[in-house]
């Protein structure tokens, strides 16, 4: 009985859908042009979201042209330090004049221009204007500052709770301690070894929580994309690279330049390959985190954009459901990428510290 009634409901639904579809077909033509416009707007919004920004905008009202958020300090090095508020750019709409120099915000980058804000392009449509060194406290820097202070207070309180509570964590520490132990027991010790893992723990713990929290922050509606920024992942990977090579022992370098146990000819062939590997390893770290986070953001934003583009009444709930499911997946990815980054860093440290065993 139950089965039949379910089937009947589906049949009725399908009938209603097709009839609605017919009605919608007529309206489609009219909306098509407006749709194209919306599509490009969503794309622009998405691209803008993926990039760093010189002000912190939560949302904007298109009709009145108002932006809700707060400006951030701009710090430029252009024959002297220039510090001013990003409100001078009016979200890229106007030219900022500082000490007789004119600057314009174009595609999230600051260019030096004349008073009118003209930007000259080369044949590839790249601006040819001079770019001053930009040390601005951008949205990503603010996000990192926020996460850094959050981490500091959280782990400081965990550290303090041990003293207060006779070696047993309280409050948020009960959640954090297993994670710290996870990094130690599942990442550091198996990859680096019982003897040497201690000196890498600070870096591994910091990078694990830093990347994870930043990934999670990227999933909030605040709309930042720090770990999907190549400069950030480059910085993190560079640190892994430097630590690996500066703490490496003789055995590690021996395996790179003069691989033991192979003929001399092969040693010569292997040396450049191994040397390349030294750079490729952190490079893959950088690209992996960047690409994963960027892809996640693009997919979710595109599907959210679909909600607005959907013509059919079923489209929006479907897109919403999809976005919801993907967001859950992204939550997993956020933790997974932090884990992978930390895990591979630990693996590289372990390689650099491997003792000869022949």
């Amino acid at each position: 009985m139950q089965k039949i009634s379910v089937v009947r409901i589906f049949m009725t639904l399908a009938l209603i859908l097709t009839s609605l579809n017919l009605v919608a077909k007529d309206a489609e033509k009219v909306e098509k042009e407006g749709n194209e416009d919306l599509k490009s707007k969503i794309e622009a919004y998405r691209d803008h979201h993926l990039q760093d920004s010189h002000d912190f905008t939560f949302f904007s009202d298109e009709e009145t042209g108002k932006h809700y958020g707060f400006p951030l300090p701009i710090i430029l090095w252009d024959n002297g330090l220039k510090v001013f508020s990003s409100s001078k750019f009016h979200h890229g709409e106007t030219v900022a004049e500082v000490d007789g120099n004119y600057y314009k915000l174009y595609h999230s980058k600051i260019y030096k221009t004349d008073a009118e804000g003209t930007i000259n392009y080369d044949e590839d449509h790249h601006p040819t204007n001079a770019k001053p060194l930009d040390f601005s406290i951008t949205k990503n820097v603010v996000s990192m500052l926020f996460i850094a202070s959050l981490m500091f207070f959280m782990f400081r309180s965990l550290a303090k709770s041990y003293k207060k509570n006779n070696g047993i964590p309280t409050g948020v520490g009960r959640f954090l301690e297993p994670l710290v132990l996870f990094v130690r027991d599942e990442i550091a010790i198996p990859n680096i070894g019982e003897k040497k893992y201690k000196k890498y723990m600070s870096f591994l713990l910091t990078i694990f929580f830093f990347v994870w929290f930043l990934n999670l922050l990227g999933m909030t509606p605040v709309g930042v994309n720090v770990t999907g920024n190549i400069a950030v992942t480059f910085g993190l990977a560079l640190l892994t690279f430097l630590i690996t090579n500066f703490t490496a022992n003789k055995n590690y370098w021996g395996h790179i330049f003069w691989m033991p146990g192979v003929p001399t000819f092969m040693k010569i062939v292997l040396a450049p390959i191994e040397l390349l590997g030294v750079i490729i390893k952190p490079f893959s770290l950088m690209i992996r985190l960047y690409a994963n986070m960027t892809a996640g953001h693009i997919v979710i934003m595109s599907i959210i954009g679909l909600i607005f583009l959907a013509k059919h009444w079923l489209g929006s709930p479907l897109s919403f459901g999809l976005a919801f499911a993907l967001s859950i997946l992204e939550l997993l990815v956020a933790a997974l990428q932090a884990y992978i980054f930390t895990m591979l860093s630990a693996l590289y440290f372990g390689m650099a510290n491997e003792e000869a065993h022949h």
């Binding site: 990039q51 760093d52 710090i75 980058k109 060194l133 930009d134 040390f135 601005s136 406290i137 951008t138 990503n140 820097v141 990192m144 500052l145 850094a148 981490m151 500091f152 782990f155 400081r156 965990l158 550290a159 303090k160 041990y162 003293k163 070696g167 047993i168 301690e177 710290v180 132990l181 130690r184 201690k198 723990m201 600070s202 870096f203 713990l205 910091t206 990078i207 830093f210 920024n229 190549i230 400069a231 950030v232 480059f234 910085g235 993190l236 560079l238 640190l239 960047y290």
Partner: protein, 166 residues
Amino acid sequence: MEKLINDFSFGLFFWQILLFVGLVLLLRKFAWKPILDSVNNREEGIKNALESAEAARKEMQNLQADNERILNEARAERDGMLKEARQLKENIITEAKTEAQTEADKIVAQAQATIESEKKAAIADLKSQVAGLSVEIAEKVVRRELADKDKQLALVESMLGDVTLN
């Protein structure tokens, strides 16, 4: 690749490195070191506690075994002592019995001896009394007899005859 390089912002990289290295150093001093030390201490503590519990358990077992042994020893000793006491008691009783027997015998013998001597004394007394009585009787008889001369002679005669017969 070109897009990546174009996206690369040196300022962001600079701040990122600065912030991250600062964070690592700060957290190392204020968080990671105390946290890991505390956790290590706690783990050491748990390990030690388990080990000492195990040691205590073993000691307890040893103690129990010791107790058992001591108890057994005590029991054996008690049994021995009881046995000894019983033997002693029996010895004492038998000794006392024999002693009593000999004493009794002695007393009986003494009593018999006394009885004998008493009997003898009584007999002697009886004899002397009988003798006195007979002398008295004899005196009286003689006094009467002697009043008659013939009778006196006949008496002497018969007496003499008796003496020889004795």
